[in-house]
């Protein structure tokens, strides 16, 4: 086990301990903010995994919506005790979202990357329309209300106390990150890098890029669905307006993209940094809610022009800055080509 892995493990343990301990440290409001951060971490990790295959998706929130609705409807409408449980809903939502991602991906992944990005936006709109129109099942624009919370045998229902939700989302986030981190380092992950580097060459070598991209899409859809199901039982309501392209909160399709890109696309730490920075920023801007959009756009532009690797590279860039300052804009521009071309697995 190399030194770097040891550092990562120790750092993770420290961070996790801090997170688990945080309800004692900060008020419930900030626990709620932390939960939002972790939700964005999960969602942007899915974005990043798909980005590693060379596809830029903006429709990730749609699968969270599918998972949320699936879980909510199952828990409310099913009468069998086993199925009635929000915990089952969690996995059921994830499963349904994964299957829907499989179906949608089967159609959408055929088009070239540029069109694919727009099509994912269209998918978000489509999911929203279906949720509104199929109101016999989904309750239409009003959504589903009064969704029961999680409950544990010894503890009781989670209720309005934020702390147990925090623990649950930490576990979900850890599982998501762990799974995606491991996938990156398997042979399947290597094929993702190959596809991103040169799709045609990968196909000529014999990789079925479509199949691998589809698998990746389904996996990210699965985890997005799990997060969505968590959201359903956390917010206690779902509505089509909760999972849209762009909203004031960061939890929107474009919000995921901003978090992932601003955080950093290459490094595994990127989405985490991006999620925390952007959610905390939007909370800090709560007074001036209307400016939040301008700040997101500004940060995104700043990252695009100055920090292609994302905010996670900021320390490294600042340290090297005196040497690089003169031709940094050109270096930054060329680094974007690197990002497209250099998906090298770390360690």
């Amino acid at each position: 086990m190399g030194r770097r892995t040891k550092i990562i493990i120790i750092a993770s343990i420290v961070v996790l301990a801090l997170l688990f301990y945080s309800p004692q440290l900060v008020s419930q409001y900030w626990v709620m903010v932390l939960i939002s951060c972790l939700i964005m971490v999960c969602l942007s990790y899915g974005f990043r995994l798909l980005f590693l295959t060379g596809r830029f998706t903006i429709g990730h929130i749609a699968f969270a919506g599918v998972g949320a609705y699936a879980s909510a409807l199952l828990v409310i409408k099913a009468d069998i005790p086993v199925l009635n449980n929000p915990w089952t809903g969690l996995f059921f939502g994830a499963l349904v979202a994964g299957i829907v991602a499989l179906a949608i991906g089967y159609i959408i992944l055929r088009v070239p990357g540029l069109m694919f990005a727009i099509l994912t936006m269209a998918v978000v709109e489509l999911v929203r329309y279906v949720l509104i129109m199929w109101d016999s099942l989904t309750g239409g624009p009003a959504g589903v209300l009064d969704i029961p919370s999680f409950s544990l045998p010894g503890y009781g229902s989670f209720g309005i106390n934020q702390t147990p939700y925090l623990y649950l989302i930490i576990i979900i986030a850890v599982v998501t990150i762990a799974v995606m981190y491991r996938i990156e380092r398997t042979r399947v992950g290597l094929s993702f890098y190959a596809m991103a580097l040169n799709d045609r060459l990968a196909r000529h070598v014999g990789m079925d890029t479509f199949k691998f991209r589809l698998i990746c899409f389904a996996i990210t859809g699965f985890f997005a669905g799990m997060v969505g199901a968590f959201l359903a039982h956390y917010w206690h309501y779902v509505s089509p307006q909760a999972f849209i392209l762009m909203s004031v909160s960061v939890i929107s399709a474009l919000g995921i993209q901003v978090v992932a890109v601003a955080g950093g696309l290459l490094s595994p730490l990127g989405p985490i940094v991006g999620a925390f920075v952007l959610v905390l920023l939007s909370e800090g801007l709560r007074e001036v809610r209307e400016y939040a959009g301008i700040f997101f756009g500004g940060i995104l532009l700043f990252v695009i022009f100055m920090l292609p690797g994302g905010l996670v590279t900021l320390p490294r860039v600042l340290i090297n800055m005196p040497g690089n300052a003169r031709n940094w804009p050109d270096t930054a521009r060329r680094k974007w080509l690197d990002i497209r071309a250099r998906f090298v697995p770390a360690s």
Binding site: M133, R203, F210, Q257, V258, I294, G297, L300, W336
Partner: protein, 295 residues
């Protein structure tokens, strides 16, 4: 089946197709010549409407003058966009998409800050309806939109086909490097393409303003519609793009009439699915690989 309803849907389809084409043709030009996917294109359309509204509000100008000014301003804005973000990342679609999204955030936030989130009304310019009694009837403004839309599109088509600059732009779309070798400045062509594309979008925005009002939220929806038309039509042919717009417009109009007010979008998507499953590169697109789905 009522023939009158059918013809009414036909004209509604042409109207819808014209509006989609305003966005799609601009996007197609920009995509082909400048190699830029302008995510904020729908917002340029809406901003064109905002300019129209703004000039009418503040200076009480004639609608046409205000719309014309809006078109000019948006064209210039397009050129500025080309010069600053898009030229920097020429050919590299990831940062361009991100820039587009950042622009979406900036535009939406900025507009809401400056003018408030309500939908603005511009007021009717031409009122009344006309049509063949018993067969179809449409508002006069809609006839004007159809006419103006067709005019602009035919104008763009003729511009691309007949004039020297149009030919130069087509050459740049085919291969920028060879165009450069021939003496055509590819980046200059990109600038003109952005101007024309954004101007067309602003025309669409101005035309839509009296009818739908001006609201910043619809920018994304229009951009998606335009991109759907481009994906269905493929990147190979300008008239293919127009045909795809027509198909989409007809599909939306007919489904609104015969199925449901909401069904238009679903039908658009179904059309898209059918086209993608059969020809992923679009109906008129260039086939990139032989029968293999994916890039």
């Amino acid at each position: 089946m009522d023939v009158g309803t059918f013809i009414q849907s036909l004209w509604g389809g042409v109207l819808e197709a014209g509006l989609i084409a305003m966005v799609a043709v601009g996007l197609y030009l920009v995509l082909g010549v400048a190699r830029v996917l302008n995510f904020a294109h729908g917002h340029i359309l809406v901003l064109g409407g905002f300019c129209t509204w703004g000039f009418r509000e503040t200076y009480n100008l004639n609608f046409w003058i205000a719309a014309f000014l809006g078109v000019l301003i948006m064209g210039i804005a397009g050129m500025v966009l080309e010069r600053f973000p898009f030229r920097r990342f020429y050919g590299n679609f990831i940062p361009i998409i991100c820039v587009g999204i950042a622009l979406i955030y900036l535009f939406e936030g900025g507009v809401v800050q400056l003018w408030g989130p309500e939908t603005k009304t511009v007021g009717t310019v031409i009122s009344g309806t006309s049509g063949v009694k018993g067969w179809f009837i449409m508002r006069n403004w809609d006839w004007l939109v159809i006419g103006a839309g067709l005019g602009c599109l035919m104008g763009s088509g003729l511009f691309l086909a007949k004039t020297r600059i149009g030919r130069a732009m087509r050459a740049t779309a085919v291969d920028p490097d060879t165009a450069n070798l021939q003496g055509i400045g590819a980046l200059g062509m990109a600038r003109y393409a952005m101007f024309i594309g954004c101007a067309l979008a602003a025309v669409g925005g101005g035309l839509m303003a009296p009818k739908y009002g001006v609201s910043i939220g619809v920018g994304l929806a229009w951009m998606i519609k335009g991109m759907l038309a481009i994906i269905i039509g493929g990147l190979g042919s300008f008239y293919g793009c127009l045909f795809a717009c027509l198909m989409l417009g007809m599909a939306v109009s007919f489904s609104i009439t015969y199925i449901n007010a909401q069904a238009g979008y679903i039908v658009m998507f179904l059309l898209l699915v059918v086209v993608i499953m059969v020809r992923p590169w679009g109906l008129f697109g260039k086939q990139l690989t032989v029968g293999i789905p994916g890039e």
